[in-house]
């Protein structure tokens, strides 16, 4: 809404009303951020995350060192933390569900994923934990690949297990379901899957449009 009584300092034309200019700039800022994040609109949060879970996870989020410019090939990199929806699948197996629908929608590719979970053992003890991780295929409900892990635990804390290509493929299809099967004496009570501050999560590195990367020579 140009104001006849004043002049735009920069271009000499009629100045735009200050309030109107502010609205235009705020609208431009919103569109610019959504476009760069490949979002059509701002997300509405479906499942709130507790501050305790967020704090615990952020301490493990290891982005590129501060000030590092994004990848030389100009593709934007993302780090994602997806908190598990946990449910008992049967007496000694816990099912963990992770959702990545936004990534698939915006054509991004998950490059590397790892499961983070908390292990609690009595002080001044050590424990060898045997864990089986089964990845549910998204096509049929039969369990697919299983990986076996042996953890030597000498203190309570977070543990990271790198997930294989099957789990990565499931993430790229938007939904990852893991079955966690602690095996051996006392293993079950050591793996903490409940409680806000110890909610297990998957940490993944994502690249925008990784599939059709053109390598510059």
């Amino acid at each position: 809404i140009p104001r006849a009584d004043s002049q735009c300092l920069a271009c000499g034309g009629p100045a735009v009303d200050v309030e109107r200019q502010r609205e235009l700039l705020l609208d431009l800022a919103k569109r610019s951020i959504l476009e760069k994040l490949r979002l059509s609109q701002r997300p509405t949060l479906s499942r709130p995350v507790s501050r305790a879970a967020l704090r615990a996870a952020l301490q493990r989020l290891h982005g590129p060192p501060q000030g590092m410019l994004p990848e030389a090939d100009g593709e934007q990199e993302y780090e994602i933390i997806s908190f598990a929806d946990t449910g008992l699948s049967d007496i000694n197996q816990t099912r963990l569900d992770f959702h990545f629908s936004d990534r698939t929608a915006s054509g991004m590719e998950i490059q590397q994923a790892s499961l983070m979970f908390f292990v609690q053992i009595p002080p001044n003890t050590t424990q060898t934990l045997k864990l089986k991780i089964l990845v549910l295929s998204s096509r049929d409900t039969n369990l697919t690949s299983a990986t076996q892990h042996l953890l030597d635990v000498d203190a309570s804390g977070w543990h990271q297990l790198f997930l294989g290509p099957e789990a990565q493929a499931a993430c790229n299809q938007g939904h990852l379901t893991l079955e966690l099967v602690p095996e051996g004496q006392g293993a079950w009570s050591s793996v903490i899957l409940g409680g806000a501050a110890h909610r297990p999560f998957v940490s993944a590195k994502v690249k925008a449009g990784g599939k059709h990367r053109v390598h510059r020579r």
């Binding site: 997300p43 949060l45 479906s46 982005g63």
Partner: protein, 116 residues
Amino acid sequence: GINCQGGSRMCCRQEFFVDFRDIGWHDWIIQPEGYAMNFCTGQCPLHVAGMPGIAASFHTAVLNLLKANTAAGTAGGGSCCVPTARRPLSLLYYDRDSNVVKTDIPDMVVEACGCS
């Protein structure tokens, strides 16, 4: 670069901070609290074309060109007030699955302006 002050007409950087709380985005953007959406504004008369350019020599080269071509009426037209330095915007936000996402959006914050 020069920051716009008062009635400055020359090419300068206008600071403009968008507080995410003001636009109701503070619930899904965890960090930072806002975005410095600075922009370049102002005039670039021919005698300042290329200033504060990337290097003084660039400015001198442009001036010499103008003198050599008595540029007053050249078809090439004037010079524009554009960003000469920008930095990424680091964002930490929730996506629609309530996943926490961290990314650096390149070239999102204008740090300095100059005449092309």
